[in-house]
């Protein structure tokens, strides 16, 4: 997922059994969101193809910033 263009946000991912973590390191939030959305769309298409489903009650999104603050948004609280 690493891109050759240094201006492009870097997208990374890991799989651990039935858990997937996908993240984007960014300095440009708008571009990062675009790249993340694109990667999530790709994953969604693969999950549909493989007849797997994401558990929306356990999905969450997190922001990590320079000032060491972490903001977590759990879909349960949306």
């Amino acid at each position: 997922m690493n891109t050759d263009n240094p201006n492009e946000p870097t997208i990374e991912h890991i799989l651990y059994a039935d858990d997937i973590i996908i993240w984007v390191n960014h300095t440009n939030p708008a571009l990062a969101q675009q790249r993340l959305q694109s990667a999530l769309d790709t994953i969604a298409m693969q999950l549909i193809h493989d007849e797997l489903r994401a558990n929306v009650l356990k999905m969450s999104i997190h922001w990590f910033t320079f000032n060491n603050q972490t903001y977590g948004i759990n879909s349960n609280t949306q």
Binding site: M1, T10, I11, E12, H13, I14, L15, Y16, A17, D18, D19, I20, I21, I22, W23, V24, N25, H26, T27, P29, A32, Q33, L36, A39, L40, T42, I43, M45, Q46, L47, H49, D50, E51, L52, R53, A54, N55, K58, M59, S60, I61, H62, W63, F64, T65, F66
Partner: protein, 228 residues
């Protein structure tokens, strides 16, 4: 056989690992012939594919079905045979680097710590080596009933695509077909009740040692697609 753990629970046939460990020497050639026949024909006895599902209470005085964790018990003989196949398949997968390095689950020399370190290091390195505007956004996805959702046809196709030896694919196809199970409920007086037999036409078997490596191969495409 001597490597089998004696304390493991047995399946519907009530044959324990301890019995298998103490099997008479004159039985060994018979069992060897049986296993060789199963391997060469790529066929698995139907009784080896029958599981007992035992609900284990997660807390005291459990009454709601959600308070129980189902445990799948397969015959010990089937488990020991699955273990041999798991070793064969895992060796092949490692030798040909079939799984992407982004997969950390159920692999030798990797653990949740490795996965977490990879994640934390990436975020930390980015934030502290770029500038104050740096940030990272992560999405955590959990797959619902992952093992039970595996499409067997797709899995077999993926095994073939990854050039897994035909004999292992054939054997796996047999392992996944015509699977059945009963639910065993232990009552307060110590007696037990069995449900009617259920057939399963989806998923990899719960409680089998080969299922994690099969699932890893199944979801390997997610990693491959994502790296494009």
């Amino acid at each position: 056989m001597l490597q089998l753990k004696p304390e493991e629970a047995c399946g519907f046939d009530n044959i324990t690992n301890d019995m298998l460990r103490h099997i008479p020497h004159n039985m060994v050639p018979i069992i060897t012939d049986l296993l060789e026949y199963s391997w060469e024909s790529g066929a698995i006895p139907k009784c080896w594919k029958h599981a007992i599902i035992q609900p284990i209470p997660k807390k005291a005085a459990a009454t709601n079905p959600a308070d129980f964790r189902p445990i799948s018990l397969l015959p010990c003989f089937a488990n020991s045979w699955n273990e041999l196949l798991t070793v064969k398949l895992t060796k092949h997968v490692q030798l040909h680097s079939i799984l992407t390095p982004n997969q950390y689950g159920f692999r030798s020399k990797t653990s949740t710590s490795n996965a977490l370190l990879a994640f934390v290091n990436s975020v930390h390195k980015h934030i502290y080596t770029t500038n104050v505007n740096a940030g990272s956004t992560a999405v955590l996805i959990d797959l619902k009933a992952a093992y039970d959702s595996v499409c067997r046809f797709t899995l077999i196709r993926k095994l073939q695509k990854e050039r897994i030896p035909a004999q292992i694919v054939k054997w796996t196809a047999s392992l996944l077909s015509t699977r059945t199970a009963n639910t065993r409920t232990v009552l307060a007086d110590g007696s037990s009740q069995h449900s009617s037999t259920l057939n399963f036409d989806r998923g990899v078997p719960q409680g089998s040692s080969i299922s994690p490596i099969l699932f890893n191969i199944y979801i390997n495409d997610i990693s491959k697609q994502s790296t494009r």
